[in-house]
Symmetry: D2
Subunit: 337 residues, 4 copies
Amino acid sequence: MKQLNIGIIGAGRIGKLHAQSICYNVPTAKVLGITDVYKDHLPALCEELGIEKIYDSYVEMLEDKDIDAVLVCSSTDTHADIAIAAAKAGKHVFCEKPVDLTPEKVQAVIDTVKETGVKLQVGFNRRFDHNFATIRKMINDGKVGDVEVIKITSRDPEPPSAEYAAVSGGMFVDMTIHDFDMARFMAGSPITEVYANATCLVDPAIGEAGDVDTAVISLKFENGAIGVIDNCRRAAYGYDQRVEVFGSKGAACASNDTPSNVVLMDENGCTGEKPLYFFLERYMQSFRDEMLQFVDAVINDKEVPANVDDGLAAIVVALAAKKSVAEGRPVKVSEIY
Amino acid sequence: MKQLNIGIIGAGRIGKLHAQSICYNVPTAKVLGITDVYKDHLPALCEELGIEKIYDSYVEMLEDKDIDAVLVCSSTDTHADIAIAAAKAGKHVFCEKPVDLTPEKVQAVIDTVKETGVKLQVGFNRRFDHNFATIRKMINDGKVGDVEVIKITSRDPEPPSAEYAAVSGGMFVDMTIHDFDMARFMAGSPITEVYANATCLVDPAIGEAGDVDTAVISLKFENGAIGVIDNCRRAAYGYDQRVEVFGSKGAACASNDTPSNVVLMDENGCTGEKPLYFFLERYMQSFRDEMLQFVDAVINDKEVPANVDDGLAAIVVALAAKKSVAEGRPVKVSEIY
Amino acid sequence: MKQLNIGIIGAGRIGKLHAQSICYNVPTAKVLGITDVYKDHLPALCEELGIEKIYDSYVEMLEDKDIDAVLVCSSTDTHADIAIAAAKAGKHVFCEKPVDLTPEKVQAVIDTVKETGVKLQVGFNRRFDHNFATIRKMINDGKVGDVEVIKITSRDPEPPSAEYAAVSGGMFVDMTIHDFDMARFMAGSPITEVYANATCLVDPAIGEAGDVDTAVISLKFENGAIGVIDNCRRAAYGYDQRVEVFGSKGAACASNDTPSNVVLMDENGCTGEKPLYFFLERYMQSFRDEMLQFVDAVINDKEVPANVDDGLAAIVVALAAKKSVAEGRPVKVSEIY
Amino acid sequence: MKQLNIGIIGAGRIGKLHAQSICYNVPTAKVLGITDVYKDHLPALCEELGIEKIYDSYVEMLEDKDIDAVLVCSSTDTHADIAIAAAKAGKHVFCEKPVDLTPEKVQAVIDTVKETGVKLQVGFNRRFDHNFATIRKMINDGKVGDVEVIKITSRDPEPPSAEYAAVSGGMFVDMTIHDFDMARFMAGSPITEVYANATCLVDPAIGEAGDVDTAVISLKFENGAIGVIDNCRRAAYGYDQRVEVFGSKGAACASNDTPSNVVLMDENGCTGEKPLYFFLERYMQSFRDEMLQFVDAVINDKEVPANVDDGLAAIVVALAAKKSVAEGRPVKVSEIY
């Protein structure tokens, strides 16, 4: 197999991003075709990127023998069904997170992947980020010693609409899920218990919709380490994405990336730039690198670097966090699934 | 009153520090006399610093009409009794933290202070630290907006002996008490609930002595803000003292102080110095400034900047944290006292 | 014109870089063909990047009517002749620096460009670097005030071979030429006088070959500003590329870019990464952006952002620096050309 | 000798500073008496600091057998004569910089010191600064390798009045003299040649008074290293004091000290504080430490850490810099003295 032929299901923000990323930066793959429930914008995208085919539906795409792998970038509620159909059609699958909001459906995906033997990678792109991957490598190289405390700060520049907050499944499932995966990735161990101290301080409408927008989430890991994630749906200075891993030999700390490193010293002080605006700007390199590794895993039959078990683990922890807020107590992950 | 005449009760590490600090840096006060249960080292200290009197006991000191104020730097279990005796003798009191390990005894000090009308300041020196005081000023100036999340990292360079850990009342009472006060100071609001996720990862002997050495402590404040303190009794790189206050307009972050700001760029990377070693090095300026403000409060009849109510609040939260670990659940501060 | 058809002359390190950059990142251009004096490696490159044509020589390329513009990436001594031939053939030209080592030949290029009306951009890629472009924008926005002092630090990770040092025309022409252009770019004013304090401290063989490897170069600008460039052919910590512009309202400072921003705090101190290794790693984004702007200038008939007058100015200053070292005195640029 | 009895000659800003510094921070010394041409403010100062004697003149002070050492803090034009008189009276001398504006008079001080055998230390306080002393130690410890390039940035927050600029001997003698000493200190080698690229950009009145306010000064050292100092009499962001020493193994860089390390992240960016305002704030610790070492050198008969030869070297280089500007050429230091 020279170039992997990829079909993209869902051409929204993230689907388009992957399409561009593959066309410009992944020489080992080719976007053969695309589909979306809304089709008006597809011809322009296909012309820009040289994509040959527009399918009526993902079903049609899965019938195309030339397609080797699909990217599931559709709405969250369709992820699991499409992933299962794709696997049954013998296509390798890259599935955006979360795989599903219910552990049972994610389990069904796990089972299908096992039966069919296809590769399935979940879109935990942050594992591939240059800063976080560097920390993980330092841990692997023994520079941090035994991991004892994991700290993650994750704040969005602006809150979503209350409507979105409501349908997204809530902050833990929609936003913190990345941080839960990052915590597991850094700890090298499953999360066993969660206590979420969460509230609504940014937008009352979010609270009225039954969700929270600010949280401090305390974690226990199976290997004895502990951790904390702090989230906010709004930071006046932009997208705040920091990780600190503390261990017996030291601590590795990743700060924010900025558009430039220029500092202006003037009568106001010494001022550097705000962080890169949001995930598209901040994580561009990681979106490319996760795709390079997915394509490499398929072509060379390697393990995918973030599999559907990781997807299951993250959603289960997210649901434990929700239960923790509802009941005002620490919740064991095993209570959920 | 030209210079405040001060008597120091207890000439251990912290008592000596205050004696030197007053002699060299507080022109408005004079250390008139000193006492300690161990007296061998007192003459040398008095000669070095020009201290005139060595008292047999604090009782004798309190009878000396020339003494305006006393510093209670004796062992923790004697703080409250001495403070009460001093107040009844009409002496102003500077009392090291914790005032006592039981809320009831701290309450007795509060009552005595109220009756006698003396000033009593508690040794929460970190409020006076240049970094943390700058953050507090930024909050006051409205630069952070509404305070939403308070984050404190506090790690010691080396663990205490297990024996000390046992008799000190435990990490929360001995070490975290400073952080609880800092959290209240930054929030400008009482702590109402605590969940402590704590464990023993540094020294098993500490665990056997019934204490913890590593913790992530989740906080709720009366004003709706939330917070987190993370502690460890040992950091390979030294004394880690950071504070971050996040609000609706931005975040103010204090990092560690270092002996110099020199960075060496060589084949190993770009390396700056480790933090200042421990509290004596790190907080020297704050020990001086808390004393300047205490003396100023007495001489000019002002409010002390950290009073015995603050001392009570901190110990109550520390006890709530202990109960939280023991019972594996969030504990309301009102359950304690 | 939909896509600009580009021919690349010279497929060495920098030619290949531009080819990849255009294929992957410049949607408005297409590499139609390529040529090099060595042809063995061309088929593989063409297959990788989808380049259709391999020309026998640049002469053949210039005869191809489908070619709209050429990139001159051949050896320095051929730049001027090829640029002139290309311009006469009606092709737009992107010419790597230096345009030529003699001002007279660069003048001939200037004259031909004027006569033929083609666009010619010189490869001063650093103008497009995110850090330096940010400083330039701050100056334009008035944040620095009147520019008074320009400081540039430019150090390579490793010295070239003495042979290369000899044939390259020397450090000022080969390496500092970028810094001379940066100084002019930041000052917004020509350099009028140069005093080069230069020596050979890294490799005696470089000195024996008649060149220097370490220098502090003092500059005067026509607008009254002053400046300094410091160079070294070897830095133990890698490629050091910093710029500081000081003015009446403040100073804008760009530091080095690193592979990640992770800091490891351990018993050795707080260690960040070394700078990105060398120009390919450090300036990748600028190579892409200079090409985007060249293509945009051609397609939309705009001014090129670095023209052949800039190329002339830089080489003249470099020659003045050489003369300054030879004669041990400040040299007016007007003495050279 | 238990405590060194010190007399202070000149109770202006720097004399007062040393008086306070000794009283509060140098337990091994005592300020026995003080004198000044203006005497009105002396009683208050003496009362504040517990200084016993006010002398009519430095002559009277030198006759006092109880005085062991004097601090010469009078106006520059009197330094040399007083230092000579003090040495002849058998008093050890701490002399503020510059010792004199003429090399001949400094030589006369050198000769007298040699004859009388007293200690004489020159007030090059910056050698004792925590940042710069750390760099010097790194060089001594071999961490920088062979020193190749020394870079010093030294900018004042505000320009002096044109009158002061005129009588002070000019910027090089008044301000840069500290940097010339720092350059020698870091290089561990004499400066042999100076080229000063200097101009007047801050205040035209300074230019009319015959002085400069902005400069880039290129240096050659006897050991083959090269260097550069950049000065400005005004920086919008305050007192800018940075040093970088580059060598075969790496570079050690000192940045500015700030009142706190707090960074405010908000919609304007990530803003840290301006540098400490001016030399009194910035160099307080170094003023104390130079005094501690002077007292130690006298009491324990050690070498002083900055002697009158260092004072001579700095003034000679400053005069070479003036000549360089006047004649527009590099000037060998040996041309001056």
